[in-house]
Structures are given as structure tokens and as C-alpha cells.
């Protein structure tokens, strides 16, 4: 009944709308439009500026570029799946297996590390994994091997870092959706003769699908957009696409190219998200809740 209250577009609307409009227009919409514009500009061979598709074409022509992008995309998908594999049982454990008192404590404990900056966490992994790091010192000290092994700066260490820094973002939506799963559904499934695997396949996962998808989308977008972890823990030969963008903008000072890369990153990750939604039959609107 409240919708019928009489309210003119008063000063209230103007006062609330103006800062929000300024914020979104000046800090979001216009900058992205400008970026888009830049991506279509370039200086040609003769030093003249003009509209060109060269920046985008270069992406496809140069293997270093599109391979980096492909690697980023593929690794991001892999990391997302790994995180999913860890988060599902953990969420299940927290919401369904442990008692309520332990649950409060565990919920706090999974959040605490994420108050700490990504830099510190990555630094910690570096200290643990590198040649002069903890694992090597301990194992050499115990006599298990003689020469230190460089466990950093490769794909595996990169994945460890990415998994560690993004786990929470999968856990939270899945815990939320698993919590809403009535225990009696699982009990009924068990009572009707289903084994644990069947219960997961037929009851738990379908129910949690929206949470799984929203967690996966968030994690995927965060991982593709990561900079610190790949830069510090990744190998020299497996650059992340964000580093390419950095190189273009800050090192090569080729903003046009960098702009094109930025949009390509957005486009390709959106495409992957769209495909994932189609495959699993989810709709964006339901997932975004």
C-alpha cells in the first residue's frame, strides 16, 4: 500500500541522485568509454594518428599475446575447479557435519585470513616455497634431500597462490546456499536407500547450483583479474594477461594496445562466464542474487 504515497520528485531525489550519478559517470562510464576509444586509435607507420583495428589485430597475430590470454583463461578455469572441489566438502562440513558451536568458530576462522592483504599471504607462500625457504630448510635439515629445490616460479606454485587467495569467495556463496538445504531432504534420501555419492549428485549439488555458479563466477573473474599472485609466484614463461596490460601501459607506454587488451580481457572472461551459465542451465538473474 506504500506505493501510493504521494511524493513528488523533490529535493530528496536530487540530493541523492547527483553524487551517485557523478560517481558512476565520471569514475566508471566515461573512463571505460575513453578506454574503448583509445583501443581503436593508433599511430600508423608514418606517425599519424587515426582509427584503426590494429590493436585488436595485433592480439591475434602475436602468439605471445593470445597465448598469454589463453593460458590465463585456462588456468583460471582450472583454479576455479580446484577451489570448487575444496569448497564443496568444506562448506558441507561446516553447515551439515559439525555442531552449531563449532560452526561459529569455524566460520570466523575461514574469514580471518582474508582480512590480511593478498601481498602478505603471497609473501608467506614465497617464504615457504622458495629455494631459501622453509620447506627446503626443513627437509635439508632433516636430511631428506641434499640440494634445495626451487618450488616457486612455476605453474604449480602459481596455482597454490591463486587457490589460497580466492577460496573464501567460493565458500561464502556455497555455505549460504547449503545452509538453506533442509537436512530432512538428505535424511529422506538416505532413508530411501541412496548412497552418499547419489545424495550429492541428486540432492545436494542441484540444490546448491546457484551458489556454485555465483561462487564460480566471482572466483573466475577475480582470478583472471589477479596481478600480485601471478607476478610474484608465477614463472617467467607463464605470464598472466594482466601483466601484459601492465607492460603495455607502464613499460611500453602503448596505451592503445593496453586498452585493447583490457577490453579483450573483459570480453573473453564474460564470454567464458556466459558459456558456463549456458552449460549448467542457470540464468544470470538467479545467480546474481
Amino acid at each position: 500500500m506504500m506505493n501510493s504515497r504521494k511524493r513528488k520528485i523533490g529535493w530528496g531525489f536530487v540530493i541523492f541522485f547527483t553524487p551517485v550519478f557523478l560517481w558512476l559517470a565520471l569514475l566508471f562510464v566515461l573512463p571505460h568509454l575513453e578506454l574503448l576509444r583509445l583501443s581503436f586509435l593508433g599511430t600508423d607507420y608514418y606517425g599519424k594518428s587515426g582509427v584503426t583495428l590494429e590493436n585488436y589485430a595485433a592480439f591475434f597475430k602475436e602468439p605471445a599475446y593470445w597465448m598469454t590470454c589463453a593460458r590465463t583463461a585456462v588456468y583460471s578455469i582450472i583454479v576455479t575447479l580446484i577451489i570448487l572441489m575444496i569448497a564443496l566438502p568444506m562448506a558441507f562440513y561446516i553447515t551439515k557435519v559439525v555442531g552449531l558451536r563449532v560452526r561459529g568458530l569455524l566460520t570466523l576462522m575461514i574469514v580471518v585470513p582474508f582480512w590480511v592483504s593478498v601481498l602478505i599471504r603471497v609473501y608467506g607462500w614465497m617464504i615457504i616455497l622458495r629455494e631459501s625457504g622453509i620447506i627446503n630448510r626443513v627437509l635439508i635439515g632433516l636430511g631428506i634431500w641434499k640440494t634445495p629445490l626451487e618450488m616457486l616460479y612455476n605453474d604449480a606454485s602459481l596455482m597454490v597462490g591463486l587457490v589460497h587467495t580466492n577460496l573464501l569467495f567460493m565458500l561464502v556463496p556455497i555455505i549460504g546456499v547449503m545452509d538453506s538445504l533442509d537436512n530432512s531432504l538428505i535424511e529422506a534420501g538416505s532413508n530411501l536407500g541412496a548412497g552418499k555419492l547419489m545424495i550429492w549428485w541428486k540432492i545436494i549439488i542441484p540444490h546448491c547450483m546457484t551458489g556454485i555458479m555465483s561462487g564460480s563466477i566471482i572466483v573466475f573473474m577475480l582470478v583472471t583479474g589477479s596481478y600480485i599472485t601471478p607476478a610474484l609466484m608465477g614463472g617467467k614463461n607463464s605470464q598472466w594477461f594482466t601483466q601484459q596490460i601492465y607492460n603495455q601501459f607502464i613499460i611500453a607506454f602503448n596505451w592503445n594496445q593496453g586498452a585493447a587488451f583490457g577490453f579483450l580481457l573483459l570480453a573473453i572472461s564474460s564470454l567464458i562466464v556466459w558459456v558456463a551459465l549456458r552449460i549448467t542451465g542457470q540464468k544470470l538473474g538467479e545467480v546474481v542474487k
Binding site: 500500500m1 501510493s4 504515497r5 504521494k6
Partner: protein, 368 residues
């Protein structure tokens, strides 16, 4: 007597749904006026229109002669006690009460004095420093009322304020509210679906149904002389007997029950023989097992189905012998009757104490 509230031909529609349908009434100063009706009848909408929260398409509302069209909700001299009271939880009692005064620009000692005064008046002396969540249901009621009365409004609107209270407290508050209104002298407009509240407290009651007033009268008249079958059914308890109106040779009207029994009907002038009618008889209008029956009375034999004991309001649930029609008959407790289920008794009433209307098809709960 001066008129404090004047509502003329006011209507309100929400899309295709008409919530208030051409309602008109006036309230004299100092009166306790209630609007009584079932959920969804439009009484809350009407109240919100008077308070200024809703626009309306036609008609006018005037307070003490001043037309309220265009007057904003926060500038009207009517104050509203909300259904869930809407006390401000972030303030204590004295700040709640002082709120309206401060918005008017009053400051300082005068405010403090007015707050203490009104707290005394509603029976909560010294409660100023208490927090809202420390108050009981009845106390919160009185703070809500005090918050409005301190502003000395022309009309105080009350939106079913007793709904959340338990029975004993509600009974107590009915009396308290009536006493308060008489003492303070402010015009009260009270809306409720509980007819006992409306009857006990009001000088006048308007029975509202589906957006319009069925009858506006004193509680006594509403009870004894209902103007429509809705009022007859809604106010108090009533036995409804439906049938076709017939006329016998000597000009007496009657209706025939299944099983052949005839009941005499004192019919209103507007009805004709052959029409479908509903006859209403109050449970207390019927006498149990009286002695010899004079002429012109309705006498039926009934079988008792259940004794509904309720203190002074005890009734017998009976069925007229030979039919399936149920009757509620008042069972006076002053003279102890030895009646139990399955007894056959005689019930007599004077047709003049029954009312008869054209069939309106208004369903009560047991018919739905």
C-alpha cells in the same frame, strides 16, 4: 456543536480496485467515533486519507472547516496512533513525546513541562527516562497516545491500537481509552475490526464494508435496529434464517422452513411476498421453555446439540426439530437451567424483535 472532521463523498481507487466508495460523514467535537469493519473493508485506507498519506480522486476532507486538499501530511492538525505504535526505538520516552513539539520549534523548559504533564495524564508519571524496550504493551500504547495528544490535535486517529494486546489488557485499555478521551476532550476517530471495542468506547459507530458505510449510528441502534443484513450479522451475534417470504390469508407474513414449520415475520415495508429474505433473531431475544405462549409468537421445538458455556454469555447450540437449521439461544446463568445435550426444549420469540432483509448473500465464517 462544531464539526471537527468532515468527510464528503470521498473515494479512493487502486487501479481497478475501489477501496473507498463515496464515503461521507461528520464528527462533532469531543466525540468518540469508530469505524468498524472486517479486514479489507477500506477503513485503514480511509484513515490514511484523513491523515494525508494518500491522495484521493474525488470528494473533500475538512478539519474544523478547513479543507485539507493540498495540505501536506506533516502539517495537518490530525495525529495518528499507528497500529504497531511506531515508537522510535532510538529515543527514550521523553524524546519520543517531545519529538512533535520540537519539530514545531518549541524548546527548553516549556517542552519538558508539557512532556511531564502528558505523562501524568496518561498514567505514566516519571517514565520519561525509560527506553522503549523497557515498556510493557499497555505502557507503549499510552506513550504512543501521549506523543500525539501533547500536540493538542483537533482529531486523534487511532488505527486498531489494541490488536497486539492480550485479552485482559485489551479489556482494561478499552475502559482506559474511553476515560482518557472523556477527560481530555479531544475528538477520537478509532478504527477496528473488533466490534466489542467499537461498541464499548464509541459515541457513534460507522459499520464499513467493501469501501462504503452500511450504517452510521449509536452502538445501541446498531445493535437493536440494524439497517442492513451485513450490520445485523457483523454486530453482535445473530441467528440468520433464510427463506422465501409468503403471505397467508389474514395478511400475516411468514417463511417456511424445511420440514414445513412456519415462522411469523414482521416484515419491513419494502419487501414483497415471493422474495428471498433473511430473518435475524438475537440469541437473547429467545426464551427457553416459557409457560403458555400468547398468540403471534414464534414457537419452535429444538434439540440441544451442545452447551456453549461462557460465563454470562453462555449459549445453547440447537437444531430446529425436523430441519437442519442451527440456532444459538442465550442461556441465562442467573437461573440455573438443567439443560444438556440431546434435550428437547421449546424456544419462543416475538417476531417484532426480529429483523428481516432481502437476501444479500453476505456470508459469515461458518458459511464460507
Amino acid at each position: 456543536m462544531p464539526i471537527d472532521l468532515s468527510v464528503r463523498d470521498v473515494s479512493k481507487r487502486f487501479g481497478s480496485f475501489t477501496a473507498v466508495d463515496h464515503v461521507s460523514f461528520e464528527v462533532e467535537t469531543g466525540k468518540f467515533f469508530s469505524i468498524l469493519g472486517p479486514s479489507g473493508c477500506g477503513k485503514t485506507t480511509l484513515l490514511r486519507m484523513i491523515a494525508g498519506f494518500y491522495d484521493f480522486s474525488s470528494g473533500s476532507i475538512a478539519i474544523r472547516g478547513q479543507d485539507m486538499a493540498g495540505v501536506e501530511a506533516n502539517k495537518r492538525p490530525v495525529k495518528l496512533v499507528f497500529q504497531h505504535l511506531a515508537l522510535f526505538p532510538m529515543m527514550d520516552v521523553k524524546e519520543n513525546i517531545a519529538f512533535g513539539l520540537r519539530r514545531r520549534g518549541e524548546r527548553g523548559v516549556a517542552v519538558r513541562r508539557k512532556v511531564d504533564d502528558i505523562l501524568d495524564r496518561v498514567g505514566l508519571p516519571g517514565f520519561g527516562d525509560k527506553k522503549i524496550n523497557q515498556l510493557s504493551g499497555g505502557q507503549m500504547q499510552r506513550v504512543a497516545i501521549a506523543r500525539c495528544l501533547v500536540l493538542e490535535p483537533v482529531v486523534l486517529l487511532l488505527d486498531e491500537p489494541l490488536g497486539a494486546l492480550d485479552l485482559k489488557l485489551r479489556e482494561h485499555m478499552k475502559v482506559e481509552l474511553k476515560k482518557l478521551q472523556t477527560e481530555v476532550g479531544t475528538t477520537f476517530v478509532y478504527i477496528t475490526h473488533d466490534q466489542s471495542e467499537a461498541m464499548v468506547m464509541s459515541d457513534y459507530v460507522a459499520v464499513m464494508n467493501r469501501g462504503h458505510f452500511e450504517q452510521l449510528d449509536t452502538p445501541q441502534n446498531l445493535y437493536s435496529n440494524p439497517a442492513t443484513s451485513f450490520v445485523a450479522q457483523f454486530v453482535g451475534e445473530n441467528n440468520k434464517i433464510a427463506g422465501k417470504l409468503d403471505r397467508d390469508g389474514s395478511g400475516h407474513f411468514f417463511i417456511t422452513l424445511e420440514g414445513g414449520m412456519r415462522l411469523l415475520v414482521a416484515k419491513p415495508a419494502t419487501l414483497q411476498a415471493g422474495e428471498s429474505v433473511e430473518v435475524f433473531v438475537r440469541p437473547e431475544a429467545m426464551s427457553i421453555n416459557p409457560g403458555p405462549t400468547p398468540e403471534g409468537m414464534n414457537k419452535v421445538t429444538v434439540v440441544v446439540k451442545a452447551v456453549l458455556f461462557d460465563g454470562g454469555n453462555s449459549r445453547l447450540l440447537c437444531v430446529i426439530e425436523g430441519s437442519s437449521k442451527e440456532l444459538l439461544v442465550r442461556l441465562p446463568q442467573a437461573v440455573p437451567y438443567e439443560v444438556k445435550a440431546h434435550d428437547r426444549i421449546c424456544v419462543v420469540w416475538d417476531p417484532a424483535r426480529a429483523v428481516c432483509f432481502r437476501s444479500a448473500g453476505v456470508k459469515t465464517y461458518d458459511e464460507l
